[in-house]
Structures are given as C-alpha cells and as structure tokens.
Subunit: 129 residues, 2 copies
DNA sequence: TCAGTGTACTTTGCATTGGAAAGCTGATGC
DNA sequence: GCATCAGCTTTCCAATGCAAAGTACACTGA
C-alpha cells in the first residue's frame, strides 16, 4: 500500500550548528595528530618518527596510516634503509588541501563555540522549569 | 647495555602532537554541535530545537544526549508542555567548564596545525628518497 | 650455525560507537 | 473508536579505535 514514508525525519532548513565540514577521516584525535605532524614536516616522515611524535602504538599507527592512505590524504612508501625496512609517509597535495580546508572549519567551530561559551558564562544556573 | 637509538634526526620532545586533551565525548561532530548550541543558549533547549539546530535525527539526538548526560555534561529534564511531552536540556556547570577546557585544547590544535600547514605550503612535492 | 633478542611493522580480536530504521506511548483528528 | 501524528527510545548493524598477538627479517653471542 503506497503511503508516505512514516519515518521522514529530514533535517530541514538551516542547521547552524551542524558542522558538516568536519570530515570524519580527519576529525579524529590520532589522525589529526598525524596530519599535523606531516604538515609540519615537508620531508617524508618515518614510521618510527610518527609513532613518537604522535604518541601512538605500532598497531594504531599502522591502522590510521592505512585509513589516511585509503582516503588519498597521504602517500606511503615502503622501502629499505640498508637492510632494514623503512616506511615513510608524506601528505599528498590533495591531502594538504583537504587538511587546510578542514582546519578552516575547525577554526570556525572554535570561534563559534568560544563565543557561545562566553555568552553564557556568568549566568547563574538557570532554574529547571 | 644497549646503545641509545641510533636515529635521532628529528628533535622529538615527548609526543608534541599527541592531543590528549581531546576528550572523545566532546570531540565528536554531533556532540560538539550540541554542546555549542547549548553553550550559546543559557536557557534550556527543547529536544526539537536541538534537533533542528544540529541537523540531527531523533534517534541520533536521543543517543548523543544520553552520552552527554552520562558524562555529566548536560542535564536533561523530561516534563510536559500542556499534555505533550517536552524534553529540555542544558549544560551543567561542570559541563560548561569541561567544554571550555576542551575548546582551549582545540584552539591550540588549530593554531599548531595551521602553522604547520603554512610552513610546508609552497613546497614542491618532495621526491621520494 | 643457530638460539635469542631486537626492530619494524601487520594482523587479529574485541568491545564500543554512530547512525538508520523500527518501536513505543499517549494525544489528537475523523 | 480507529487511524494518524508528535515526541521521543530502542534496536540493529556496519564501522571504528585500540591492544595484544603475530610475522618477518637482522644482528649478536656462544
């Protein structure tokens, strides 16, 4: 029987605080940390360096790098230094661009929120209705 | 006694990019959005208002509010407006404080990252070694 | 030459999570 | 009095983060 969908909970109109620009891939502590590290170092960084810079375990780093590579944000190069494996990693151009765009959104979020927090700052606890 | 690691190319502090202060409860798009909305409005906000402000579905809103309440960041009051149920929500004092602290960390992250991104900006694609 | 330790990652396992859909409850309309 | 709607809650599933275990190779000492 053709009836209108009973579950139409569509987010309508404007949703001023819906931060769509906060890409899940980048909006994640570990990966945010990785991206910042990589952005700060124009030369490729080694696995071990990233691990230390970001305070991650081997497993987590491996996983997160995989996610970032999958998303096209970083390039991973597996080679050797002498006879030891050496994995290095750098931001792609697109990665840098997307990261910058993400940061712009995040900056806006911080400003919005800080202002919001300032507004209600001195407020006494509003009486519960 | 084993030698210290022979590779120390990068001036590493502890883990300069490990953003421990980014509390998972708050560092989440939907909840960040909710907290900002609540911070911006000193008076309690209704379920339906939050839903629109943050562009969330009923189910998601319910869930995220639950998480925030569990964490002690918000207080939820379930009452009636006339005969219709009306759920309202506001930041607790602790919630406001923790949110402000989180924002301070986030602000620092943004500054770090923006600076990092600026540094490597004009760089040509570094050739893989 | 071969156990043992170390380095450099990867893979696996698991509990948690976010989100869509379905469910529930009571009020209102027909 | 049955159907519909408003206002939330609960369920279900795929995806995720994280830790622990695993793999592979190099180097050291007996």
């Amino acid at each position: 029987m053709p009836e209108p969908a009973p579950f139409a909970q569509v987010p309508l109109g404007q949703a001023p605080f819906a931060y769509d620009g906060l890409d899940r891939v980048m909006h994640e502590r570990a990966r945010l940390s990785l991206l910042t590290s990589l952005a700060a170092h124009p030369k490729p960084l080694a696995f071990a360096d990233l691990k230390q810079l970001c305070g991650l375990t081997d497993g987590n780093l491996s996983r997160h790098l995989g996610v970032l590579e999958e998303a096209g944000l970083v390039e991973i190069h597996k080679g050797y230094e002498g006879r030891r494996p050496l994995t290095t990693c750098r931001l792609t151009q697109a990665g840098r661009e997307r990261f910058v765009a993400y940061l712009a959104v995040l900056e806006r979020v911080v400003r919005d929120a800080a202002e919001a927090a300032r507004q209600g700052e001195g407020e006494p606890t509003p009486r519960p209705a």
